[in-house]
């Protein structure tokens, strides 16, 4: 049996002449943490609302655990916990009361709900503020209460829409750790939408880059960089100096070229601020190191330049425009 839990087929959502989501195809399997990465206004929230059945797609379909979200939103919402961006609570109620309301809406009996709510509040580190009105909560506390609120219905999938916006870096780290921990512990599928690539890089198994309503690339970070940079060169940066015996102070480009002659595939060597930039067709960093050390030069720095999500993101970002 296929373990796809969320499946989007040719999903399109139009607002008048504006296309928010354009022919989106996506599969998310059970237990993975999927990051939906894109700038503001890319259509991430619209996609999430369609998955929840809160918005009807213009065309295409959404299946959650094999249930069509548009036709059976209530059944789908029973399985999904959704934490909206900047979640709201009833400010004049306590954290516990807010959780109890959600629990009651999900048909959880009173006694069970109280126990569950207290357990969850302890898990997200809010057990001290249980009887405090949510109007007095800080932003980070609200977000953690939001997570407890999502978990109280015991969902199979949790959907987080920009959950970390407006929290301090320390709070973000704790929050992300909490999500990863919970996901691994309970085997939850997590859909995490964000415009912050470092957070996505930190927690997600797979990432989809989403710009202007289109999914430009899906995969883990390695496969994304391969998809993107497969026609590009490998770059190795080295910094070498002459052994102390020789009085000539600096190594020239020509000298380096001569030393590296045995290695095939070197395209170009350039120098910038005493750092040599060696471009090649294949990954030759190990060979370069070996030859340089054998040649008697002092190798002080060698760095194989890898393309991180940053580069991918900006690359796509520019491509998307």
């Amino acid at each position: 049996m296929d373990n796809t839990v969320i499946e989007l087929v040719n999903l399109t959502k139009k607002y008048g002449s504006f296309t928010a989501v354009d022919g989106l195809n996506l599969k998310i399997s059970k237990g993975e943490i999927f990051g939906l990465l894109g700038p503001n206004g890319a259509g991430k929230s619209t996609t999430i609302l369609t998955i929840l059945g809160l918005t009807e797609p213009t065309s295409g379909s959404v299946q959650v655990c094999g249930i069509n979200s548009t036709s059976y939103p209530v059944e789908v919402k029973r399985k999904i916990g959704y934490l909206p961006e900047d979640v709201g609570f009833y400010d004049n109620r306590t954290g516990l009361e807010n959780l109890m309301f959600t629990a009651h809406l999900n048909g959880i009996p009173d006694i069970e709900a109280t126990v569950l709510a207290e357990q969850l509040l302890e898990k997200v580190g809010l057990s001290d503020s249980l009887k405090k009105k949510t109007g007095n909560y800080s932003r980070g506390m609200r977000q953690r209460l939001g997570l407890a609120d999502v978990l109280i219905k015991n969902p199979e999938i949790i959907v987080l829409d920009e959950p970390t916006s407006g929290i301090d870096p320390n709070g973000v780290r704790e929050f992300l750790d909490l999500i990863v921990g919970l996901s691994r512990e309970k085997g939850l599928t997590v859909l995490f939408s964000s415009h912050n690539l470092h957070q996505v890089q930190q927690v997600c198994d797979r990432v989809g880059i989403f710009i202007n309503g289109k999914l430009l690339g899906v995969g883990n970070i390695q496969s994304l960089s391969q998809q993107l940079f497969n026609n590009q060169l490998f770059v190795v940066e080295v910094s070498v100096s002459q052994p102390p015996k020789i009085n000539v102070a600096k190594v020239s480009v020509a000298q380096l070229q001569k030393i590296l002659l045995p290695i095939h595939g070197i395209r170009k060597i350039s120098i910038e601020n005493d750092v040599f930039r060696i471009e090649s067709d294949t990954d030759i960093s190990a060979e370069i190191a070996k030859i340089l050390i054998n040649s008697g030069l002092i190798l002080s720095y060698l760095h194989k330049k890898e393309y991180g999500l940053d580069d991918i993101y900006y690359q796509y970002f520019e491509g998307g425009k």
């Binding site: 929230s45 609302l49 929840l52 809160l54 918005t55 209530v74 059944e75 919402k77 029973r78 999904i80 916990g81 959704y82 909206p84 961006e85 900047d86 979640v87 709201g88 609570f89 009833y90 400010d91 004049n92 309301f101 959600t102 009651h104 809406l105 999900n106 048909g107 959880i108 009996p109 009173d110 006694i111 939001g146 609120d149 219905k153 829409d161």
Partner: protein, 351 residues
Amino acid sequence: MTIFITNILKEVNKMKRIAHTNSTLPRWFGNPYGVRHPFWVIVQKEISDHLRSWRFIIMLTLIILTGIGSIYTALTGMGNAIKSANGADTFFFLKLFTISDGTMPSFFVFMGFLGPLLGISLGFDAINSEQNRGTLSRMLAQPIHRDYVINAKFTGAILVISAMFFALAFLVMGIGLITLGIPPNAEEFWRIIFFIILNIFYVAFWLNLSIFFSIRFRQPATAALAGIAIWLFLTIFYPLIVNLIIRGLSPSNIEFASQQRLIALNQLHTVLMRLLPNQLFSDATTTLLMPNIRSLGPLTQEQLYGAIPGPLPLSQSLLLVWTQLTGLVAATITCFVLSYVSFMKKEIRSR
């Protein structure tokens, strides 16, 4: 044939399974495990929200003060009313709600005045405040149908209003009973009950109108203002406009005008005024609380000929106000349908 039968059996089993799974779900009025239907969960939350809000406390104080004030004027004016009463006029108890000594309007006039304010104040931030607080998307992400929210908003407010009106009217009755020493007879009692129900319908109209505005306008202040503007227009400006129209159509010299023309003008005036919910309300309450009223339109000499002066029985009074009641309910339902449709179509964003 056997295939047919096995198919039927399969269907039956399927139905049984569905019935079984459904029986574990919360039923409409809850089940023995302390699980309520989500609709009633929201209604309960609404009611407690209303009861805790300052706005409700302020409105309640206003209405209680009004009640005390009008009972006071009614009781001071009661002496004259009893003295001047003829034998046929026996509904003393109802006078508690209708007479005044002239310093202050009577109870039912006040209710007609404060009812809209109460309805508007309970509904103007029903949906938009939930949306501005970001709680609407959180609530709708739970396994509930979208219309539960709007239905519960309405039901919650109506339950609060009903409880309040019944309590208030019974208090007035109690005070009247103690001070006057005259118990109400059965007919008076039922007239008062119908009067309260009418009040609730009237407030429901304004409540639905302001819920509609709360869906339509993002800012609660705008929604409240829109509601109050409509209320002012209907109570002050609309009658002015109607009078202008009628005056424009009136003949310059009434003495030479034909009777038919005058009747037609009068009827036009009535029709135009009856588009107003407050006119419907005041027509209906007057008829219910003053059994002597026999008609709400002009009566010709022929119609009055042979009529025995005296109060109408309750059933006849009800028959008389049936159109008003229908009109009021229709207006209420129209507003509710408007808000229902616009809420169902509304795009739910996080904030």
